[in-house]
């Protein structure tokens, strides 16, 4: 075991898979000699060579496009999009192409591609760096979307994503990159895709969150406990597909739910989760399911992040509403 930040755990996962499978290729803008703008790929080119870890020209559409082409030659591409706000440049290659490859070829070809990209607010980035756009990919059949909230999960989920034979978008929250350390096994291990994790057990209300909102939910749960409210916190880990089994099990126990996301209310995954719960467990609900989400504006100008981004206080407020319904 070693104490690792999330970024170190990600590098460790990439190193593990580069070692395990010679078909794994890591590429993107500045991921080679520079080791990535966040150092996620630091040292990998020196260790595995330019054939395995390489820089590309600055063009997201082609970065995702070549991943599809490389897959036809038996490779397992792990491209990086420098910030997920730049995904719009690559939307056709992702949602229009790789998501559909297995289906459109009648299961004769596949795209074992893992797209890594940082996102998320609270670190004062310039425009279109922090936007939460997971909802766009999650709406595309053929894609999977993974969002880890801690170093342990990040390593295990990334190894699973790389080994998955279908395309995965792996979103790394910038605020979580170095915000805390955690025990991470040095050997390889996997965390199954599509499985949520109960981070904190509780009996009064279920908080469903992902990304940076997991930490906020845990903090909210600690606050709520002071008032005698026991919140159960579920970290989705994979936002598509959603682990409804874990969610419903919790709802049946607590009978109250708040879904928490950093994305705007009209975006993200919360609406999908609310719908699934009301279809599957409406008779177990004591109150409407409420959402914590950002306002439906364009992502905040840097200096407005603090007033705009959802935080633990917003979660406490929504839980109190649900408890007093």
């Amino acid at each position: 075991m070693a104490q690792m930040t999330m970024i170190q755990a990600i590098t460790d996962a990439l190193r593990t898979e580069l070692k395990n499978d010679e078909n794994v290729l890591v590429f993107g803008e500045d991921v080679g000699q520079n080791g990535g703008v966040f150092r996620a790929t630091e040292g990998l080119q020196d260790e595995f060579g330019e054939e395995r870890v390489f820089d590309t020209p600055l063009a997201e559409s082609a970065i995702a496009g070549i991943a599809i082409g490389l897959a036809t030659q038996g490779y397992r591409p792990v491209p990086e999009i420098q910030f997920f706000g730049f995904v719009y440049e690559a939307m056709d290659a992702i949602n229009g192409q790789m998501a559909r490859l297995r289906y459109r070829t009648g299961n004769t070809m596949n795209a074992p591609i893992t797209i890594r990209a940082p996102f998320g607010g609270g670190v004062h980035t310039p425009e279109l760096h922090a936007d939460s756009l997971e909802g766009l990919i999650a709406q595309q059949p053929g894609m999977k979307v993974v969002i880890p909230s801690n170093p342990y999960d990040a390593k295990g989920l990334l190894i699973s994503a790389i080994r998955d034979n279908d395309p995965v978008v792996f979103l790394e929250h910038m605020k979580l990159y170095r915000s805390f350390r955690e025990e991470v096994p040095e050997e390889e291990y996997t965390v199954e895709l599509g499985k949520a994790n109960v981070k904190r057990e509780g009996t009064d209300v279920t908080l469903i969150a992902y990304g940076a909102m997991v930490q906020a939910s845990i903090k909210a749960a600690e606050e709520l406990e002071k008032n005698g409210i026991q919140a159960e916190v579920i970290d989705l880990r994979t936002v598509m597909p959603i682990d409804m089994e874990t969610i419903i099990e919790s709802v049946k126990k607590t009978n109250r739910v708040v879904v928490v996301q950093e994305a705007q209310r009209q975006a993200g995954m919360a609406s999908q989760i609310v719908t699934e719960i009301q279809e599957r467990a409406i008779l177990h609900l004591e109150a409407p399911i409420l959402r914590v989400a950002a306002p439906d504006t364009v992502y905040a100008f840097t200096q407005a992040e603090e007033v705009w981004l959802p935080n633990y206080e917003d979660i406490v407020e929504k839980v109190n509403k649900v408890m007093n319904f």
């Binding site: 995702a64 496009g65 082409g69 490389l70 596949n110 597909p241 409804m244």
Partner: protein
């Protein structure tokens, strides 16, 4: 101050071997093709012209779906394909079904592609290709990736991809060539300039005098070819292929061609935007007429041979349509099972739902 536009454009003179009368105007670049190969090329062009005529008729009868006519482009499509090896990888655009057929896609599957059946997209063993790309430009970036993969594997093969004149305005067109250039990948980028993108003439796409010169922006080789001259198209592709497998990087080939028919059979009417004069001018350049004259001059082609090819084509098309008719209908459960290697839980649920429906 030195401006270079005129110099640049002078670099891209049309490469031609056969003129409209079927006379050799460029002996020096004549490709080495045996008599049998020359006859095979002609056979394929005639067959493909019949296939186009029949496909239009079948579409009008409602027995085919999406169809993008190919008549006029036989030299461009088949001359490039004829220069390929079986292990090469084709990334076609929606009009490039003939190349897939001659690379080994059974005709009935091409018809299933037209109708909208997944089996039409299941390439048989040994046919290295994607099914026709509908998103104009996407095939270009993907081709760069296929070529990069071949280079990494140490294969002596190429990725070849096609787009039209309109497609050269897309970002992916430039990105694909530029990536292949930066990685010196063995790719051949073909632009089939048939002068119109649906109704928009090529001079509304760009102020560039040739499309071949767009290669300059990627720092790769570019060549403009008479796309109605099958020997010139073949020679240019063969040369690009050799350069590519020898590690010299990609080439952009612009073929000057024409589609005699509509853009697609989905209600396009070329009389709205094309003049009779232009049609007549390009009919004189017909790649089949020209190559027929050349082969007849060499004593390699007769009317009888041509009739044989025509009859064979018609019979095989009839057979293929019958086989397509016999293909089992698609079920939702088929579509679900083609989505992922291992179905996510929500699709497992939907699979059960549709299994129950389908068993009723």
């Amino acid at each position: 101050m030195k401006r270079t536009l005129e110099n640049a454009e002078n670099e891209f003179q049309t490469f031609q071997i056969l003129n409209e009368e079927g006379e050799v105007v460029n002996e020096k670049d004549m490709p080495e093709l045996s008599d049998d190969e020359l006859k095979e090329l002609m056979t394929r062009m005639v067959y493909t012209r019949i296939l186009d005529q029949r496909s239009i008729a079948l579409n009008r009868q409602g027995r085919l779906g999406f169809y993008a006519p190919t008549a006029g482009q036989e030299a461009s499509q088949l001359g490039t394909q004829f220069a390929l090896e079986q292990e090469d990888f084709i990334l076609p655009a929606y009009r490039d079904v003939p190349q897939l057929i001659w690379q080994g896609l059974p005709l009935y599957q091409a018809f299933l592609f037209s109708r909208g059946h997944y089996h039409g997209n299941q390439m048989p063993e040994g046919v290295h290709a994607f099914s026709p790309q509908i998103i104009i430009g996407a095939q270009y970036t993907q081709a760069a990736g296929v070529a990069m993969g071949m280079k990494k594997r140490g294969k002596k093969n190429v990725a070849i991809t096609y787009t039209g004149d309109g497609g050269t305005s897309q970002g992916d067109f430039y990105e694909g060539m530029n990536f292949a250039g930066a990685f010196k990948a063995p790719a051949i980028f073909v632009v089939q300039n048939n002068r119109f993108a649906i109704s928009v003439p090529v001079d509304k796409q760009t102020a560039a005098k040739t499309l071949a010169q767009k290669a300059v922006a990627a720092g790769i080789e570019g060549i403009q070819v008479d796309g109605m001259d099958v020997l010139a198209v073949y020679a240019a592709t063969k040369d690009a292929r050799e350069r590519a497998v020898n590690g010299e990087g990609p080439t952009l080939i612009e073929t000057l061609t024409y589609r005699y028919g509509a853009h697609t059979m989905a209600g396009d009417d070329p009389t709205r935007y094309r003049t009779d004069e232009l049609d007549t001018e390009w009919e004189k350049k017909d790649p089949i007429v020209r190559f027929r004259k050349y082969l007849e001059g060499k004593g390699l082609w007769t009317e009888e041979q041509e009739n044989e090819v025509t009859e064979k084509a018609k019979a095989e098309i009839k057979e293929a349509i019958k086989k397509a008719d016999e293909q089992p209908k698609q079920k939702v459960t088929d579509l679900i099972s083609n989505m992922y290697e291992k179905l996510p839980v929500h699709l497992e649920e939907q699979m059960e739902e549709y299994k129950a429906k389908e068993s009723k």
